[in-house]
Amino acid sequence: MSQFMLLLYQNPAGMQNLSPEEMQKAIEKYMAWTKKPFTVDAKRLAPDPGRVLRSNNGKPRAADGPYSETKEILGGFYLIEAANYDEAVKLAMEHPHLEYGGTIEVRELYRM
């Protein structure tokens, strides 16, 4: 089994227009996916732009992250187990995030 990282990007405007009932339905769908046996870990990132560190002429500097309110932001990640990319993509394809206008990036973890 290989492990895959799913990076979930979301469009902040996409969820604002849902009704309370629709949001509850969405949460239930998301959680049903999270509870599947192939999920190893799931974490949500704090809703801030984060910091990006770079070294400029040998001097390390921190700046605010790349996310602005209008752009798709990295909202959270999952670590899942799958036999290969095909399977990982198939599993991620069923994630409700896509139905709610989000984007999922699938990356395999490097095996030593």
Binding site: Q10, S19, E21, I27, E28, Y30, T34, G75, G76
Partner: protein
């Protein structure tokens, strides 16, 4: 309606909590800040949607939503959403309240009270009729504009405008969340009951559309009626209203068969009646009997109780039903008179019933009303006046009505 845990969360948890938290925040902030309260609630729910799927549902989801909405309201006030001179007192009020909530054992009573006050404000006679239902569904019921529009078969913009007008009226008439004074109470209570009754009727008497949201209207009407019935302002007629909604809603699942065709009472599969709702309905029906007043709600509850008692073994007591309809007939409502005609037919025969509805033939637009034409056609068919009956059913088929009703009419036409 009793809550059911179908998935991870109680059914309609978000919708219900949206109403309660909005009511709570509006009491703290004042009716002028209703929009701010609604936005804070929306923000809390979006936050839940963003975090719960990853971290799991909090141990106490209701307290979580409550706290996050509360904090969102505080942030909004700090960001200057309200006039500068009001900022400090509002913040003080919010902060003071957040210390109490939500572990305080008294909070449940407080929230019920907030919700009740909100219903009374949304149904204030100063707000136009149609807007009262929309406003109640939005602020107390936690429905979105789109959901309300779907339930009313209206477009989103029309509903949004109705809400804007209602909110403007709240400001202009300086409506408050204070419970009505004793002298005002009868009028205000009638207004609340009427709104709940229309909400129920809108869902129950659906002529078009199969949408589930219309059933949700019956459930929301029942929830509000129960809230009212459990409060200090409950009168026997409030119990009658609750009973009539519960007993009629209980039979909704059996009104259509699997193909979606209409099923008449005597042919209904009674195992599909909701027994919990029937028990609840009879409980409130018993409570409604105290006191001297016999309201319209009492009569309608008695009718619903007679139907709900039908066991398939004993004949339906049409004499009793006719007597009850006679009490309602003074309203002059065409719908009541048409339903009454069905009882007249059972007791006195089709000829008498036909004479009775002839009185309606002068009413404006009645010849475009499918129920009038369907009942008339039905009676003519019983009297073997087949050609006239067929003409009625054909005319009825041209009127606005739902697909199951249309199929029913076609079946009747084929019998002519």
């Amino acid at each position: 309606m009793p809550s059911v845990q179908t998935g991870l969360l109680l059914e309609h948890l978000f919708r219900r909590q949206a109403g309660r938290i909005t009511a709570h925040l509006t009491r703290l902030l004042g009716p002028a800040q209703l929009d701010l309260a609604e936005e804070a609630v929306q923000e809390a729910m979006v936050r839940a949607m963003e975090t719960w799927p990853y971290q799991g549902v909090p141990d106490n989801p209701i307290a979580w939503l409550f706290r996050v909405a509360h904090n969102a309201a505080i942030d909004a006030v700090r960001r200057g959403r309200v006039a500068a001179e009001k900022q400090a007192p509002l913040l003080a009020e919010l902060v003071r309240a957040s210390v109490r909530a939500p572990d305080d054992p008294g909070i449940e009573d407080q929230l019920r009270d907030d919700e009740l006050r909100m219903i009374f404000m949304c149904c204030h006679p100063a707000i136009p009729h149609e807007a009262r239902i929309a406003l109640s569904l939005k602020t107390v019921g936690g429905f979105s504009v789109r959901e309300i529009a779907r339930a009313f078969l209206a477009d989103d913009r029309a509903i949004a405008q109705r809400l804007v007008r209602a909110k403007r009226q709240i400001l202009e008439s300086r409506l408050s969340l204070a419970m009505p004074a004793t002298c005002e109470l009868p009028e205000r209570l009638d207004s609340v009951m009427e709104t709940i009754y229309f909400m129920f009727n809108e869902g129950y008497a659906a002529h078009e559309g199969q949408d589930l949201v219309r059933q949700d209207l019956c459930c929301e009407a029942l929830r509000l009626a129960r809230l009212l019935a459990a409060s200090s302002v409950a009168a026997p007629k409030v119990h009658a209203l609750t009973a009539l909604i519960a007993l009629n809603t209980a039979r909704v699942p059996a009104r259509t068969d699997e193909a979606g065709d209409l099923v008449l009472l005597e042919d209904q599969d009674r195992s599909r009646w909701d027994q919990k709702l029937i028990a609840l309905g009879f409980h409130h029906f018993d409570l409604s009997i105290s006191g001297d007043e016999v309201s319209q709600y009492h009569v309608q509850a008695a009718l619903a109780a007679t139907y709900a008692r039908y066991d398939g073994l004993h004949a339906i007591d049409w004499n009793l039903i006719l007597e009850l309809f006679d009490q309602l007939a003074s309203t002059g409502s065409p719908v009541v008179l048409l339903n009454r005609a069905v009882a007249v037919e059972r007791v006195h025969g089709p000829e008498r019933a036909l004479e009775e509805i002839e009185r309606l033939s002068e009413a404006p637009k009645i010849h475009r009303y499918y129920l009038y034409l369907a009942v008339r056609g039905h009676l003519l068919l019983k009297l073997e006046r087949r050609a006239e009956a067929a003409a009625c059913f054909r005319q009825a088929l041209e009127c606005p009505c739902s697909e199951p009703e249309r199929r029913f009419l076609r079946r009747k036409l084929a019998e002519c």
